[in-house]
Symmetry: C2
Subunit: 335 residues, 2 copies
Amino acid sequence: MAIPTTRQVVHVVRYPDGMPQEADFALDQRALRAPGAGEVLLRTQWLSMDPYLRPLLAGRYAVPRPELGAVVPGGALSQVVHSNSGCLAAGDWVVGDTGWCDYATLAAESLRKVNPVQAPLSTALGVLGIPGLTAWAGLKTIARPQAGETVLVSTAAGAVGSVAGQLARLSGCRTVGIAGLPEKCAIAREAFGFDECVSHQSPTFVEDLRAACPEGIDVYFDNVGGPVLEAALSMLRTRARVVLCGMSAQYNQAQRPAGPNLGPVIGARAILQGLVVFDHLARFAEFTADVAPLVRDGRMHYRESISEGLASAPSAFIAMMAGRNLGKALVRVAS
Amino acid sequence: MAIPTTRQVVHVVRYPDGMPQEADFALDQRALRAPGAGEVLLRTQWLSMDPYLRPLLAGRYAVPRPELGAVVPGGALSQVVHSNSGCLAAGDWVVGDTGWCDYATLAAESLRKVNPVQAPLSTALGVLGIPGLTAWAGLKTIARPQAGETVLVSTAAGAVGSVAGQLARLSGCRTVGIAGLPEKCAIAREAFGFDECVSHQSPTFVEDLRAACPEGIDVYFDNVGGPVLEAALSMLRTRARVVLCGMSAQYNQAQRPAGPNLGPVIGARAILQGLVVFDHLARFAEFTADVAPLVRDGRMHYRESISEGLASAPSAFIAMMAGRNLGKALVRVAS
């Protein structure tokens, strides 16, 4: 195929104020840089929609926020169209931070090669990608769930939570999920095997959660922070472990709100530990060896929420931030 | 000496509402039970004033709160007057939870025998007692400070904080204290060797703390919670460890207040862990072997704030809760 010289991108028009709006983003045609030495030209197949983009756009993330006018950052599964690297060949599939675009030029060494036969390609952005690694690393290095323990997971139907719950269940734990929409609670129970799942949107959320965990919790995998975290901390059993992985409840807020009182953490002799998935990238092969067989033989399930075309990326991101996606949020860019 | 048949006690008249008042307590004469099999009769020498009494009186502690009219709970250093136990003899010195009284009858097995020649007796309630063990266990099992790290300690001039700071300094750390009164900050620096000490009563507390820890903190030993904990969490370095040991900032509050936002804990990949000293009683001999030589040879300092007579216990406790004591708060009961 001929190498294109222009590309479509979605760029940052303005930084979101509260919940992101479509007008915060715009589609644009730009010149496509030809790959230099060690670089490859990529065609985007799937864009990954991830909550961390929101704090990134607010300048509250581990990397600097993009300037106005820059391409919206984000991970994608792409195919190599042209390679100037000995490590990758045209036709290879890779995951990398291309941003929201249909074509990108990137250094080959910044990319992770994906085996296209181990599972459907899109899983490289979900259950076998960074979200799956996040869940796996949080359980492996912090939560260390033991058979018979009760493991509570927020965003239970989401890309991270669904993997955390399933891995804990496969370890012999009782799993209790928390999600927003009632449909998500049903998915958590029926697709991901949670023993129970309660909605944080219920007016009786705290009571529901206590009823679902009558003996308290040994592990809490937290992706949301806020009142859900506070409720979970009030139910810690002795020597409970809490994975602090995300704070999506506050991502749209201009100021960091107050947090939970930590008195119960003392009484429970509990451990709360922050998790940043990038610390665990070196364990990707180990993670894949653990989880890919589970996906292949049907013991690990996943769901996807797909929108069509690069232009739909802003609305897909907004829907995810509003909690309306019913699976790993993906944008199909090439068909 | 003849065995007395009555004793003086201080009892709980009413549960404190906010800051404790003298009228919450009253002195009383009561019958003294003769020791049965396995029991000893004790004469109180020193009463220990400890912050945990406040949440205990509010029913927010690990053990049930005392009924109205019951003797105020509390640890003391006492001498055995009469023994019906083969483990203890008249004249032995022991630490136990006698409550606020001049004589007590207790089971010998509930007592910890004190070596009266290793250090002054009163140290068995402070630097070589539960406060010292608390500091030692928090550093040993959670904080694990490494030479060159910055260790932040609240209640830096207090019974726990002063030991934590000195042990960290002896491990080669830079130590920064937090205290209330300016006199306490001076004591922390001059008596306990903190490199810096800032007052949380200063209107520029957060700025002062940042100036004292320009590169952030690797360890925070928290005895207070509240805004001081929040400030400390905003300064965590990567892989920092936080010992959650006490929440004295909220002990006088009827409702548990909101806590710190935990977003910075994620970014720092930090660990917060609750410490309850009772979990570590089995390591008392190891702790004593570590710390008693430091006290004897003058590398570990301590200060005491002594009030005279059992009747002064309520005012001594109130003064401590108000932060006015300039050392481990003790009441001398027998002279």
